[in-house]
Amino acid sequence: MDMPIPSQRVLDRKAAIVARLRAVLPADAVIDDPAETRAYECDALSAYRCQPMAVVLPRTTEEVAATLKICAADGVPVVPRGAGTSLAGGSMPSEDSVVLGLARMNRVLEVDYDNRFVRVEAGRTNLSVTGAIEADGWFYAPDPSSQLACAIAGNIGMNSGGAHCLKYGVTTNNLLGVTLVTMAGDVVEIGGPYCDAGGLDLLGLICGSEGQLGVVTEATLRILPKPEGARPVLIGFSSNEIAGACVADIIRAGILPVAIEFMDRPCIVATEAFCHAGYPDCEALLIVECEGSEAEIAEQLGLIRQIAMRHDPVEFREAQSEDEAKRIWLGRKSAFGAMGQIGDYMCLDGTIPVSALPQVLRRIGELSVEYGLEVANVFHAGDGNMHPLILYNANEPGQQEQCERLGAEILKACVEAGGCLTGEHGVGIEKRDLMEVQFDAPDLEAQMCVKDVFDPAWLLNAAKVFPLHVSAARRAG
């Protein structure tokens, strides 16, 4: 993975820059001891590491603004970081950068059930947003699988999704407002506790901009009353194609489950060995979850059963108790852990039109044989967001590169099928160099123009998202 050559001018001035930061920030907010900055050398894309020059851990929006002002004045690159769980290298530092970590900004600032929102500091973890309101019967809908650890700041940066976004949407659909600090250190309030803001939709632009337009320090989030109940069914099929056809039929029938999850045989086998969820021996399985009162769930699941039966399922298993529901989800929720048990894996995130599912799965199978690496598939089938997991051995020379080449081919296949490179993880450094597969030059130019407006000197997370050769002239300026 190429990264820009660090600025010697900045590296030479490290002591002065750190001193300036210390002069305006609390003593414990600035870290420059290499033994301590090591903890920030990577995020969840741990194959790539680089120690930053310094780390700043502010407690207030004012401290964020002060930090950015100093860095802007000195031309110091800044890498914003939520909880460091990005799978795309979204918060990987460069050697000449200051990492701006929001972990200490984790308070709930306002809870308003009448107007259905909460306002939180952006370093708060996703699950703890729901944690603050669930006793009162409310929840925050986006549920990325890292939700125990990941921060709202990162969710906004990457526009994170989750298993239940078929019904509830992704982060951008549940975000009402942000406090944003620009690279110049200006504090800007965008949106608020109302439906549509006036003027241009800057909020929609900031969500998913991967920390390149500003640092989000506070967020106003839409919250929802918890449904009365939820229950999954598990349906086993004799081929990926049949499972794919069943997904399309469920959607066409007018039922909108909260989640439709898909696992293929390699994934089923691995999770069974790992957690013994008791999944059937089959080529593909779906987990479909419906919500509502007991009667409403029964009505929806009855229709799903009728549809599934037309596809001659190997098994149709309806959870009869809370425990059985947990067992149905157990394998799916353990899938990544199960893969980790087998060896190293790379998790892809391409999205395809649901109709292209069988064709793309077939192509992934062919590519897997061609590259000699096993691929297991587990994904959100209702919205076409795939998560092929490529298994490899990082200790075997050349395997990681081979894995990355296979990953690139799979993502190209997703784009060719009418889809995209990333559905919910973000581009980061991981998919940066594939952007030209999906976008033409004017498409990327239009996006980079946006960054020019927010961060004219290209100091914020600048080596991400856009291929280096495409952004080179701007970064050098």
Binding site: D383, G418, V427, Q447
Partner: protein, 357 residues
């Protein structure tokens, strides 16, 4: 001038020597039209996959044509776009590009999100005549910046849409409403109570002559169940269930029928719902409420200084008809960012320059 292809559109913008007044069906004349009229007639459904809930259409496609095509497959646009023609007293056929440019969302906004939340892809021509695409035709897509959202609600000031893509939803087979004969000022508390319940409310508004009204949609048994539970929850407000008349109520509310053919200035507030009772009291004119009180349509005597009279409120107000500036001035740092974006997307400042003030 009318263009019927993206190529013609790009050529027309490149050749333009002055301001262009971009028009779809001309049914949402908000702000001032300045310059030569450029009508976007790029029409037709280019892709519709019911099994994938996705639709891609030319920006000049009439809304009616889209609604008919997807209704035939039992689907609908989630955000329930409303026509404003009769409200604003103009004729013409609403086009989907206009719906997107104005980010028009109807009562279902409270459940299914705004137009911009269902919009998954755009193609547009910027002010320099360059064709740009963003997003695509899949429901989950975080590849690069989200210019799709930026284009929605930009009133044609950043680029002229040539093609738009949506995610759709299955149309609900049944609906019912719960109606409460209470005044507008008291409605918000009742609507908040409904929206804070687990019964998946898909509309919450107030109409003169009817009162506060809450809608549920879905499978028949589920609708019956939830309507009954809501009626019980809202019993203190004198709630009753309306089944047969439900659809008509929501059609009236979406298109603000009580204000059709009426004179006076017309305003649209998007605000924090709990601010609504105060705004309604201070305004004193006639109102229709939607989005649980988060949207106020207000009809006031001509020339009323509405923003000053209604303040304070958290949100903004658009003047749809009247002498006031259509859009509320933005806070300085936000305005600076918006200005910067306009300068990049439309360096000559020729696209709909009078629309957003």
């Amino acid at each position: 001038m009318k263009v019927e292809s993206e190529g013609q559109l790009a050529e027309a913008i490149r050749a333009a020597s002055g301001p262009l007044d971009i028009v779809g069906g001309g049914t949402r004349p908000v702000g001032c039209g300045v310059g030569e009229v450029l009508e976007v007639g790029i029409s037709g459904i280019s892709l519709y996959e019911p099994g994938a809930l996705t639709l891609v259409v030319g920006a000049g496609t009439p809304l009616a044509e889209i609604e008919a095509a997807i209704a035939a497959e039992g689907q609908r646009l989630p955000f329930e776009p409303a026509r404003w023609g009769a409200l604003l007293g103009v004729s013409g056929e609403s086009t989907i590009g206009g719906v997107v440019a104005a980010n028009v969302s109807g009562p279902r906004r409270v459940q299914a999100g705004a137009c911009r939340d269902s919009l998954i892809g755009v193609r547009y021509v910027d002010g320099a005549g360059t064709v740009v695409k963003n997003g695509g035709r899949v429901m989950k897509n975080v590849t690069g910046y989200d210019l799709v959202k930026l284009m929605a609600g930009s009133w044609g000031t950043l680029g002229v849409l040539s093609e738009v893509a949506f995610k759709l939803l299955p149309a609900a087979p049944a609906q019912a409403s719960v109606v409460m004969d209470i005044p507008a000022g008291e409605a918000v508390a009742a609507l908040s109570r409904a929206l804070g319940s687990p019964y998946d409310v898909s509309g919450a508004g107030w109409l003169p002559g009817i009162g506060a009204v809450v809608r549920v949609e879905g499978l028949a048994e589920s609708v019956a169940y939830r309507a009954e539970r809501l009626a019980a929850l809202l019993a203190p407000y004198g709630a009753r269930i309306e089944r047969d008349g439900s659809a008509a109520i929501w059609a009236d509310l979406a298109e603000v029928r009580p204000f059709h053919g009426r004179s006076g200035d017309l305003w649209r507030f998007s605000i924090k719902p709990s601010d609504a009772p105060g705004v309604i009291a201070r305004l004193g004119g006639e109102v229709v409420l939607d989005w649980g009180g988060g949207l106020i349509w207000a009809l006031v005597p001509e020339g009323t200084d509405v923003r000053a009279k209604a303040a304070p409120y958290s949100g903004h107000a658009i003047c749809l008809r009247g002498q006031a500036a259509a859009f509320e001035p933005e806070a300085a740092p936000v305005a600076a960012l918006s200005r910067g974006l306009r300068a990049r997307f439309d360096p000559r400042g020729i696209l709909n320059s009078g629309r957003m003030g």
